[in-house]
Amino acid sequence: MNPFYFGSGQHRLFGIYMPPLARRAGARSIVLCHPWGQEYLRAHRSMRQLASTLAAAGHHVLRFDYFGTGDSAGEMAQASLGDWEGDIAFAIEELRDTTAAAKVALVGLRLGAALAARVAARRPEDVDALVLWDPVVGGAEYLGELVSGASYAMDRVPRPADAGGGYDVLGFPLTGTLMKEIAAIDLCELVPAIPARMLVLASQALPSHQRLEAALARRPAGEGALERIECEPAWLEKEDLGAGAIPVAILQRIAGWFG
């Protein structure tokens, strides 16, 4: 395990690289893309466990924090989804420099999945495999989830206009910029044309899944159909732990898919 900073100047990003723990043919280079806000904190141990599982299976894994999140530089109130897609691209380059891989795989959870899908769509020369784990399908639907999950006055506080507007949601700034960009997310528009091999997993049902399944059905050879695996959501707090459950079945499926 190698924790390190990459990037430069005021845009230093924190990452943890896990080398393969077993020798194997066909070792992949995999970048994990975190979810947003409280979901990032709650799912951290699941993402860590996923990285360990993939490394134990013989793959190279890089987890990293977007600008303004986790241990990376900056404040979330200064960040945008465009910045975070750029950070995924930085992470891809960093991992390729380390492993000399020609192409990488992206694994994203929730908002991280939507960002990973956008990057995979724009950079088919860099990304040849994509795992969308309980992805954000429609931005408006996701914003509704965030709002309903912050139903107490202390958990959803309007932000001043001169601080970017929007709301502080469960302790994290959901600025006007982020809200506008999130609202524009439509995974169904992206997935039919992404050339990367794709695995789409859902542990929790969303109303948008029907539309997503129709979109996935338009992929070549129907590859990438939505798989439902019933287990606890990694991004919702379990009891009063401050963390979510670790969905072992999901982690095993992802590791098995990479082979």
């Binding site: 395990m1 900073y5 924190f14 951290h44 302790g171 401050g242």
Partner: protein, 316 residues
């Protein structure tokens, strides 16, 4: 003037298994000028802290000239679990000791301030009791025994609610069965709504010993309580009332955040907390052990603190 800071990732401990982030001013002062601040995990949340509080705290303290390390205890966040089978509390103590060993070996660190929220505060207080390298403690919502004042406020609040008052008058409230059990001489645990039992004589004596040991060694304390942890505490002076035999005196700055929950979710609460910690650390007289004060403190002078009255957050 605020300094710019730099951060570096580290692997600490004899097995290089504990992941930490060291933040320090770009023109870092020597250790002799400022103690290092170690920020501990809260529960199983990793080193960035609830609502990224530990990151904010570390960066502001670093800008004020303190080297600050946030790290994950073994098995939490990105740190590897221990292989020696120690029980959780013993493992935490061993982890902190190993990190201090790494810092002393690599940087000559000999004085530290331990900071933590909730279980992090408890770990900080307990470790400080037995290690003279700890010269300061920042305790955010630590576990402390309940007092008469706690129960008066707890029931006073609830008797104001019509449903609770009716249950009490009808004899249906769990309080009555608990009181019957206690009056019958049975040990009995408090109702579930009271939370973990810190009331046993053994635990009370243990905690008192922990705090007394650090006080007598001259450790400087900043203790902050919020209105969001009422299963454990619900008023500012509860720490003092829980340990009436300990003379904290001027070593303790005691604050109460009546408008915050347990994890400082509102951004304004976090900003205020960070300013408070930086101000306290910048003004504290961190030194090696010295004799306890001789004078008996008055009830007003039992601890320094703000004049902010305890107040409850708006009902959601």
């Amino acid at each position: 003037m605020k300094e710019s800071i730099r951060e570096q990732a580290m692997l600490l401990g004899p097995r290089r298994s504990l992941v930490g982030i060291l933040a320090q001013a770009a023109s870092s002062p020597t250790d002799a000028e400022r103690p290092m601040v170690l920020i501990l995990n809260s529960g199983i949340i990793h080193r960035v802290g609830a609502n990224r509080l530990s990151v904010a705290l570390a960066r502001e303290l670093a800008a004020a000239g303190f080297p600050v390390l946030r790290f994950d205890l073994s098995g939490i966040g990105d740190s590897e679990p221990r292989a020696d089978g120690l029980a959780p509390l013993d493992a935490a103590m061993a982890d902190i000791r190993e990190v201090l060993g790494s810092l002393e070996g690599s940087r000559g660190t000999r004085r530290v301030v331990l900071a933590g929220l909730c279980s992090g505060a408890d770990h900080a207080a307990i470790f400080s009791a037995s290690d003279p390298r700890v010269v300061g403690l920042v305790l955010l919502d630590p576990s402390i025994p309940k007092t008469r004042g706690y129960y008066l406020r707890y029931y006073g609040m609830r008797l104001g609610r019509p449903g609770t008052l009716l249950n009490v008058l009808r004899g249906r409230h769990p309080m009555w069965s608990w009181m019957k059990t206690r009056m019958a001489g049975a040990p009995g645990s408090p109702p579930e709504s009271f939370g973990p039992d810190l009331q046993s004589a053994e635990i009370r004596a243990y905690l008192e010993g922990v705090y007394r040991s650090s006080v007598e060694r001259g450790v400087q304390f900043l203790a902050v309580f919020t209105a969001g942890h009422e299963r454990i505490h619900n008023y500012r002076e509860q720490l003092l009332d829980a340990f009436p035999g300990i003379r904290f005196g001027e070593r303790l700055r005691l604050e109460y955040f009546g408008d915050s929950d347990h994890t400082f979710t509102p951004g304004v609460a976090r900003e205020r907390l960070v300013r408070l910690v930086v101000d306290w650390a910048s003004g504290a007289n961190f030194s090696t052990a010295r004799e306890p004060d001789d004078a008996e403190p008055s009830s007003e002078g039992r601890a320094r603190g703000s004049a902010i009255p305890a107040s409850r957050p708006a009902t959601p």
